[in-house]
C-alpha cells in the first residue's frame, strides 16, 4: 500500500510538487494562526509591565498559569460561542464577506515570504515559501493593497456612521502610505538588482551587505509606512476610540470581529518579515555563510535551515516588539498631520532617496 503511494509520487512529479505545496500551505497557515493569539497576549502583557501592572496572568491549563498565555485561547472560545447580531439595514453580502477578505489577503501575502533557505531533502530542493515568484515584491504589493477592500467593505456595509468614517479614514490612509512604502523599497531593488525576495536574502550574507547599511533612508521610510499600512498606533486613526467608537468594525461581533484582528496581526507579521528580509538579511545570520553553517552543524542541511528560519523569526519578532513598543509610547496623530506626513514629507524624501541611490549606485557600478 505504502509502496504503491510512494511509487505513484516518484513517477508523477507534478503531484509530488502539488503535495509539497499543500503541506507548505498548511504550515504557513499554521504559523500565521499562531501570531494573533500570541500578539493579543503580548499586547496586553507588555504595556502592563510598562505601566507597572500585572496584565492577564490568571488563565491557565491544569493548574499551570503559564504567564496567562492561555488567555487568548479562552477569548477565542468565548468569541466563537457568542451570538451573531447583524445590524438592521446592513448590506448582507458585503457585511459577511468583508472579514473573509481581510483574512485571506493578509494570508496571501505571507505566501510569498521566504522563511528560510531552500531545504534539500533526498536530492530535492524545496523552497521555504509557498509562492516562489521572481516578482515577489510586486506580488506582495499587489496583495497587500487589496487589504483595503476588506476594511472599506466592512465600514460601508455596516449601516453605521462611525464605521463609514473609520473605513474612509483607513482607506485614505492606507492608500496614501502605499506610495512611500513602494518608493522606499526601490533603492533595495536598485542595489540588489532583483525583485526576487530569496535572491535579495542570498545577497546579504555579510552584515555590512545588509540593506539597512546600504539604504538607511529607505529603512526609516519603510518602518514609518509599515506602521501606517497596518493602521497601528501612532497612525491608528481608523479606530480612534474617542471619536469613532471602534472604527470600521464597530458593528462586528462574535468570531467575525476577531477575523479583522487576525488579518491585522498577520499583515503586521508579514511586513515585519519583509522588513527583516530587505534590511536585516532575512534568514542569513550575517557572519557565517549557509555552507559554512551546514558544515559546522555536522553537514546536516535541515539543521542549518532551522537556524535560518529561527533567524527570520528573531528579526521579525524585533519588529513585532517595535509595533507594541511604539503603540504604548507615542500619542496618536491628528488626521491632517498624518496626511501631511505621508504626502508632503515622506513622498518627496522617498523620491530624493531614489535619486541619491541611483547616483551613488551608478557611480560605483558604471564608472
Amino acid at each position: 500500500m505504502l509502496e504503491t503511494v510512494l511509487g505513484f509520487f516518484r513517477e508523477n512529479d507534478f503531484w509530488l510538487e502539488f503535495l509539497i505545496t499543500v503541506i507548505k500551505i498548511i504550515v504557513v497557515f499554521g504559523i500565521c494562526a499562531q501570531i494573533p493569539p500570541f500578539m493579543v497576549w503580548f499586547e496586553r502583557r507588555a504595556p502592563a509591565f510598562m505601566q507597572r501592572r500585572k496584565g492577564p496572568n490568571r488563565v491557565g491549563l491544569f493548574g499551570f498559569r503559564l504567564f496567562g498565555l492561555i488567555q487568548p485561547l479562552a477569548d477565542t472560545i468565548k468569541l466563537i460561542f457568542k451570538e451573531e447580531v447583524v445590524p438592521t439595514g446592513a448590506h448582507k453580502f458585503f457585511y459577511h464577506i468583508a472579514p473573509v477578505f481581510s483574512l485571506f489577503t493578509s494570508l496571501m501575502v505571507a505566501a510569498a515570504i521566504p522563511f528560510g533557505p531552500p531545504l534539500v531533502i533526498l536530492g530535492r530542493t524545496i523552497t521555504l515559501s509557498v509562492v516562489n515568484l521572481d516578482v515577489g515584491f510586486l506580488f506582495i504589493f499587489a496583495l497587500s493593497s487589496l487589504g483595503v477592500y476588506g476594511i472599506t467593505l466592512a465600514g460601508y456595509s455596516s449601516n453605521n456612521k462611525y464605521s463609514l468614517m473609520g473605513a474612509l479614514r483607513a482607506a485614505a490612509q492606507m492608500i496614501s502610505y502605499e506610495i512611500p512604502l513602494g518608493l522606499s523599497l526601490i533603492p533595495i531593488v536598485i542595489i540588489f538588482g532583483t525583485l526576487d525576495l530569496n535572491s535579495i536574502v542570498v545577497a546579504q550574507a555579510n552584515v555590512w551587505d545588509w540593506g539597512i547599511f546600504r539604504a538607511p533612508i529607505s529603512f526609516f521610510l519603510f518602518v514609518i509606512a509599515m506602521f501606517a499600512e497596518t493602521n497601528r498606533a501612532p497612525f491608528d486613526l481608523a479606530e480612534s476610540e474617542a471619536e469613532l467608537v471602534a472604527g470600521f468594525h464597530t458593528e462586528y461581533n462574535s468570531f467575525k470581529f476577531s477575523l479583522f484582528y487576525f488579518g491585522e496581526y498577520v499583515s503586521m507579521f508579514v511586513l515585519s518579515c519583509l522588513a527583516s528580509i530587505c534590511f536585516f538579511g532575512g534568514w542569513q545570520t550575517g557572519f557565517i555563510s549557509q555552507n559554512d553553517l551546514t558544515s559546522l552543524l555536522f553537514g546536516i542541511q535541515p539543521l542549518a535551515v532551522l537556524v535560518g528560519v529561527l533567524m527570520t523569526f528573531l528579526k521579525a519578532s524585533f519588529f513585532m516588539w517595535l509595533f507594541v513598543w511604539v503603540r504604548w509610547t507615542l500619542p496618536r496623530f491628528r488626521y491632517d498631520q498624518l496626511m501631511n506626513l505621508g504626502w508632503k514629507f515622506m513622498m518627496p524624501i522617498g523620491l530624493f532617496n531614489i535619486v541619491l541611490t541611483a547616483v551613488i549606485a551608478g557611480a560605483i557600478a558604471f564608472k
Partner: protein, 118 residues
C-alpha cells in the same frame, strides 16, 4: 509546475478557511430572539438619526485619484530599478526626466491645495 498554481491553491485555501471561520459563530453560537432595538446600528445609545451612507468629503475621492497616479509611477520605477544595471547612465538620465515631469505635477497638486486637510 507553473509558479502561479500555488497562488491559486493558496487563494482557494484562504477563502475556504475564511468562510469557515466567519460562519462558525453562526452555527455554534446561541440564536437569540431578534428585536428591532437589539439589531439597531450602534449610535451611542440614542435612536439612529438619518441614514449611515450619507455624503462624505470629496477629499477622500481626490486622495484615491492621486494615489492611482503616483502608484502607477511607483510601478514604472520598479521596472527601471530592476534593469538599473543593464541600462546604465542612460536609464538614470531618462528616469530623472520622468521624475522631473512628475514632480511638476506634484507641485501643481500641492499648490492647488489638493493635499490640504483641515
Amino acid at each position: 509546475m507553473n509558479p502561479y498554481l500555488p497562488v491559486l491553491m493558496f487563494l482557494v485555501f484562504g477563502v475556504t478557511i475564511g468562510l469557515i471561520l466567519s460562519a462558525i459563530s453562526y452555527f455554534v453560537g446561541p440564536q437569540g430572539k431578534k428585536n428591532s432595538i437589539k439589531s439597531e446600528p450602534y449610535e451611542c445609545g440614542v435612536p439612529m438619526a438619518g441614514v449611515a451612507q450619507e455624503k462624505f468629503s470629496v477629499k477622500f475621492y481626490l486622495t484615491a485619484i492621486l494615489f492611482i497616479l503616483f502608484d502607477i509611477e511607483t510601478v514604472f520605477l520598479y521596472v527601471w530599478a530592476r534593469t538599473f544595471g543593464e541600462l546604465g547612465w542612460f536609464g538614470v538620465v531618462e528616469i530623472f526626466v520622468f521624475l522631473v515631469i512628475l514632480l511638476a505635477g506634484y507641485i501643481y497638486v500641492l499648490r492647488r491645495g489638493a493635499l490640504e486637510w483641515n
